[in-house]
């Protein structure tokens, strides 16, 4: 029964009392038990205090303390988000035994909204990678075909949701790490506007780009999870205070416009929203070397939206080709600084040495994996005397140009429609041999982080190999609700997207409308 339910329905049943929190948690634990031996999405499951939390939630729901749309729902959490008393390893030997003494703000907000942490999911080490293969502990498999990667770096979270081992998950996105695995696994993922979701308690990779966001099977579920975690937090200096308004010139709207509407009314409103909406397709995102099926899917998506009254046109973002270079220079530079805290002194892995600096060096050399070391080395070099101006400063200047280019585009368009990645998931163990090639695969996602904008990845179709892929809608700052609206309307027009289980039993309806 639970298998067919989305998280919102699950919560409704729990609040009505027709389903217990323990039953819901038990169902997902059972799914993990059955499937995760092969898929390896989870690194750690919540154990200590779980029964007490279930009892507390059940009582809180009964007494009316927890009334939110996701009350009673278990959530999978990427392993770079601190959970009090529950190991948070960032999939690194460096933090193999690290138990946070506090909750990240997003975790506190989940708890306040009556949700519970199901477990921690695998990822690329310190979120550095696009396949989840740089994890120091295990290789997560794509549930659609276990010979392929799930994408990354939030691969474990994407797989947990896609394979029905968790109804919802949190990921983090620095250059595409929520949207790209969502695309490769056939789920929805949102990168919120920079500053909209607190990063307090998120282990930093590249602080000027990192954001936490929701992943789920449908847009409505992601909207609800986003609304639970978003909002000002004084513990994050980049968090934006006050009531935010969509910066879009065309359609201003806030979350409160949906308060009190039924789900059907919301859906209807979404379809109405896209009438007259101006949607741009940046032609630079449709490169010559991209997968033809993905390219066709963008065109089909445009047609569907046009039939509902949207105005879709091709436009140009000429700086797109400079996104990857700018991103990797800045991300590596920031990573080299952020990860200097891991030195074996106060927490994390230590290799004992007689001399302090020898201890630092040994601990870091043994604690970090290859990709992490590569990015730290690159970052240290980029920030070093004699090279700082040529690489780091240059990238900061281009970052401004990219941001301005998007600002300019949003003077004309409500949102942009693009691929999430040039193709579908690559085969396992084919990406890490050529790091630059892997970096280039991030071409469709990195610029959005550089510009600090929100974007959503929504399942769109299947390639010939039976692997899913998504489309991306990019919005102006704080226009998450507009993105949810267009994504939800698109979801309705696309039709039901198959789940992994249906696919495996041949009941999938991919591509049918």
């Amino acid at each position: 029964m639970i298998e067919q339910m989305d998280a919102l329905t699950l919560s409704e049943k729990i609040k009505k009392g027709t389903l217990g929190v323990a039953e819901a948690v038990g169902y997902y634990r059972d799914q993990i038990e059955r499937k995760d031996g092969e898929l390896k999405a989870f690194l750690t499951l919540a154990e200590g205090g779980l029964q007490e939390r279930i009892a507390e939630l059940q009582e809180g729901i009964r007494s009316g303390q927890y009334t939110g749309p996701l009350a009673g729902v278990p959530v999978a959490i990427k392993d770079n988000i601190c959970t009090k008393g529950l190991r948070t390893s960032c999939a690194s030997k460096m933090l193999e035994n690290f138990i946070p003494s506090y909750d990240a703000t997003v975790i506190q907000r989940l708890r306040d909204a009556g949700m519970l942490v199901l477990g921690k999911t695998n990822m690329d080490e310190f979120a550095m990678g696009s396949t989840s293969e740089t994890s120091s502990f295990q290789i997560t498999k794509n549930p659609w075909n276990p010979e392929y990667v799930p994408g990354g770096s939030s691969g474990g979270s994407a797989v947990a949701v896609a394979a029905g081992m968790a109804p919802l998950a949190l990921g983090s996105d620095t250059g595409g790490s929520i949207r790209q695995p969502a695309s490769f696994c056939g789920v929805v993922g949102l990168l919120p506007t920079y500053g909209r979701v607190s990063r307090y308690g998120l282990v930093a990779y590249a602080s000027s780009l990192d954001q936490i966001g929701p992943m789920g099977r449908t847009v409505a579920e992601c909207r609800a999870l986003y609304e639970a975690i978003a909002g000002y937090d004084e513990k994050d200096g980049t968090s934006v205070p006050g009531t935010v308004r969509c910066l879009g010139k065309m359609r201003k709207m806030t979350a409160t416009e949906y308060d009190g509407l039924s789900r059907e009314e919301k859906q209807k409103r979404c379809m109405e929203r896209i009438k007259g909406m101006r949607i741009g397709i940046p032609k630079e995102y449709l490169q010559a070397e991209m997968n033809g099926e993905v390219r066709d899917a963008i065109k089909n998506t445009a047609t569907l939206l046009e039939q509902q009254g949207a105005i879709v046109e091709e436009m140009s973002l000429p700086l797109t080709e400079y996104g990857v270079a700018t991103y990797y220079l800045l991300a590596c530079a920031e990573a080299s600084s952020n990860l200097s805290r891991f030195d074996g002194g106060k927490y994390g892995k230590r290799v004992e040495e007689k001399e302090l600096h020898a201890m630092y060096k040994k601990s870091r050399t043994e604690g970090f994996g290859e990709e992490t070391k590569r990015r730290i080395l690159l970052g240290s070099f980029i920030l070093s005397e004699g090279y700082y101006d040529a690489y780091y400063l240059k990238a900061l200047k281009v970052k401004r140009l990219i941001k301005e280019e998007y600002e300019n585009a949003f003077r004309t368009y409500d949102c942009l429609l693009t691929p999430v990645a040039p193709g579908t998931a690559p085969k396992l163990s084919t990406s890490l041999q050529n790091p630059l090639q892997m970096y280039l695969g991030d071409v469709d996602t990195v610029a959005v982080n550089l510009a600090g904008l929100p974007a959503i990845s929504v399942p769109c179709g299947m390639d010939q190999k039976g692997l899913p892929f998504g489309v991306q809608f990019i919005g102006n700052a704080f226009c998450e609700q507009l993105l949810f609206d267009v994504a939800e309307a698109y979801e309705e027009l696309r039709g039901v997207f198959p789940t992994v289980g249906e696919r495996m039993t041949g009941n999938g309806k991919a591509g049918e409308r």
Binding site: P100, G195, V324, E352, L377
Partner: protein
């Protein structure tokens, strides 16, 4: 085009507090060189009059009251220490 030689790698290792294995050095230099050479693509753009974007966020500079809101959390913090004694972190001798 940038050339990453042994000297540059050693400098980067020093700054990074990392040691790359002898068998990995050649490959590491090559990979760094490849990425940095690719990044030189940015030189196609004229950024002469562009101010670097050091703070790209939407929040401006946020300040808050300088008051203590948490407890010292000593127990939880020390629980993660690789080595401790008498409620103190233990590290190799520094002076």
């Amino acid at each position: 085009m940038i050339r990453i030689d042994a000297e540059i790698l050693e400098k980067a290792e020093l700054l990074s507090k990392l040691q790359i294995e002898p068998s990995e050095r050649e490959r590491t230099m090559k990979e760094m060189e490849k990425v940095l050479s690719y990044a030189e693509k940015l030189n196609e753009l004229d950024t002469e009059d562009v101010e670097p974007l050091t703070h790209g966020g939407w929040s401006g500079t946020m300040l808050r009251q300088d008051v203590v809101t948490n407890s010292d959390g000593k127990e939880g913090t020390l629980a993660n220490a690789p080595k401790q004694t008498d409620d103190q972190f233990v590290v190799p001798k520094t002076v």
